[in-house]
């Protein structure tokens, strides 16, 4: 089991919603990961669809890069509707 790869599990709680990350588990292969995810994460009908993906296949952003990645959006207030001055009488906008 220590050699079994780690899988990240994503569950769609109902049709119309996206798959959401719920946790991870070890399994010998992807089929077993689905079977196990069903038992571990959907015992109370939490889902209608399961995705599993090997954790090593996920490339995550480096927390040290957060500033470079996300700070530039901070001063772009003009991307938000409240930046624009419009009269109060205006409706449906």
């Amino acid at each position: 089991m220590q050699n079994w790869p780690l899988y990240e599990v994503f569950i769609r709680s109902k049709n119309g919603l996206s798959h959401k990350h719920v946790g991870s588990l070890h399994a010998a292969d992807a089929d077993m990961a689905i079977t196990n995810a069903r038992d571990v994460y959907t015992r109370r009908k939490e889902g209608v669809s399961i995705w599993v993906v090997e954790s090593k296949d996920i490339k995550a952003s480096n927390p040290e890069d957060s500033e470079a990645l996300f700070d530039p959006a901070e001063d772009k207030v003009y991307r938000h509707p409240t930046f624009y001055d419009l009269p109060d009488a205006l409706e449906h906008m």
């Binding site: 769609r12 109902k14 049709n15 119309g16 919603l17 996206s18 669809s49 772009k76 003009y78 991307r79 938000h80 509707p81 930046f83 624009y84 001055d85 419009l86 009269p87 009488a89 205006l90 409706e91 449906h92 906008m93």
Partner: protein
């Protein structure tokens, strides 16, 4: 009942039940084809839509306006990408979809085949074209096909500033010098009717409508949405002190909505069929951008192959 009929019935029952359809669910071939057509056209419209507005980025009258316009055009690019991804969940490749645009087989919204002649056009597009787009798109957030509906939720949320950006431009011009006000009125004159045409042919002429309504891809008819556009926009034009270029436009107390004049359907079909003022220019610009970008795509692949080869070489050395 044959097997296919029973599958179709189960499918329709799910739709009637307001259930969402997801990529791996069974769906009628025509549902899949209809969605591929609609979502890809929608994506193409976002991408081609960058051209008329991009035309004014370098000539925006001040930094504030330029920032707003760049942010809006960036959003259109992003929206195109969300929609292309949603389209791919239906089993068509990105290359195929792009090819359909570049060969002229797929359409995009005809509104982008009109030119942006003055700065006021940027205001009119934000106010009217985005206004019409929002009316069209909000109901698609409840479309029966999950990936399309989810993409649309993101699009609508991000687009909420686009229309305000445009209206603010119109407001500044309408309250400016007589020349500026005239420029705003001229833009409204040229964009009003094409904006109303964005809702598509009238219900009696619309070939795909009935089936799309039954499948809940569409929630309101073309004419219903067009009426809503007129009713919403008239008071907004009044605040600007501008006149909507339609002598037949007037409030009908009995119906509780505006009456308005007949659309020039001859013009509508001519632009759809390729004879609008900018059809050739837009398509040529898009194809050129795609071809000019080929070396970037090639370089990206070459780089990733080189990294892969380097990694393989290191791994071999380590094992040895």
């Amino acid at each position: 009942m044959t097997e296919i009929q029973s599958l179709e019935k189960r499918f329709q029952d799910r739709i009637d039940n307001e259930e969402r359809i997801e990529p791996r669910d069974w769906m009628p071939e025509k549902y899949r084809k209809t969605l591929i057509r609609q979502i890809s056209q929608h994506a193409h419209s976002e991408i081609v839509g960058m051209l008329p507005e991009g035309n004014w980025i370098t000539r925006a009258p001040n930094l504030r306006r330029k920032l707003g316009l760049i942010a809006k055009v960036q959003d259109e690019a992003g929206h195109g990408l969300y929609l292309y991804s949603a389209c791919e969940t239906l089993g068509i490749s990105r290359d195929e979809v792009l090819d359909q645009l570049h060969t002229g087989k797929a359409k995009y919204s005809s509104i982008f085949n009109y030119p942006t002649l003055t700065w006021a056009d940027i205001g009119a597009i934000g106010w009217l074209v985005d206004g019409a787009a929002i009316l069209n798109q909000v109901p698609i957030c409840r479309c029966s096909y999950g990936p399309y509906a989810r993409a649309m939720v993101r699009v609508c949320k991000e687009e909420s500033f686009h229309q305000r950006q445009g209206y603010e431009i119109m407001l500044a011009l309408a309250n400016g010098t007589p020349e500026q006000k005239e420029m705003a009125q001229d833009a409204l004159n040229r964009w009003w009717w094409p904006s109303l045409m964005m809702f598509g042919p009238s219900d009696s002429e619309s070939t795909h409508s009935a089936q799309s309504m039954a499948w809940k891809i569409k929630r309101f008819s073309n004419d219903e949405l067009r009426q809503r556009m007129v009713d919403m926009t008239k008071p907004q034009a009044d605040i600007l002190g501008l006149t909507i270029p339609d002598p037949d436009l007037k409030w009908n107390d009995e119906k509780g909505m505006h009456d308005f004049g007949e659309i020039d359907w001859g013009e509508f079909w001519a632009v759809v069929k390729g004879d609008g003022p900018c059809n050739k220019e837009r398509l040529a610009a898009r194809v050129k951008a795609h071809e000019d970008g080929q070396w970037v795509r090639d370089a990206a692949v070459a780089y990733s192959e080189k990294q892969e080869a380097r990694k393989a070489a290191t791994d071999t050395t380590q094992v040895a």
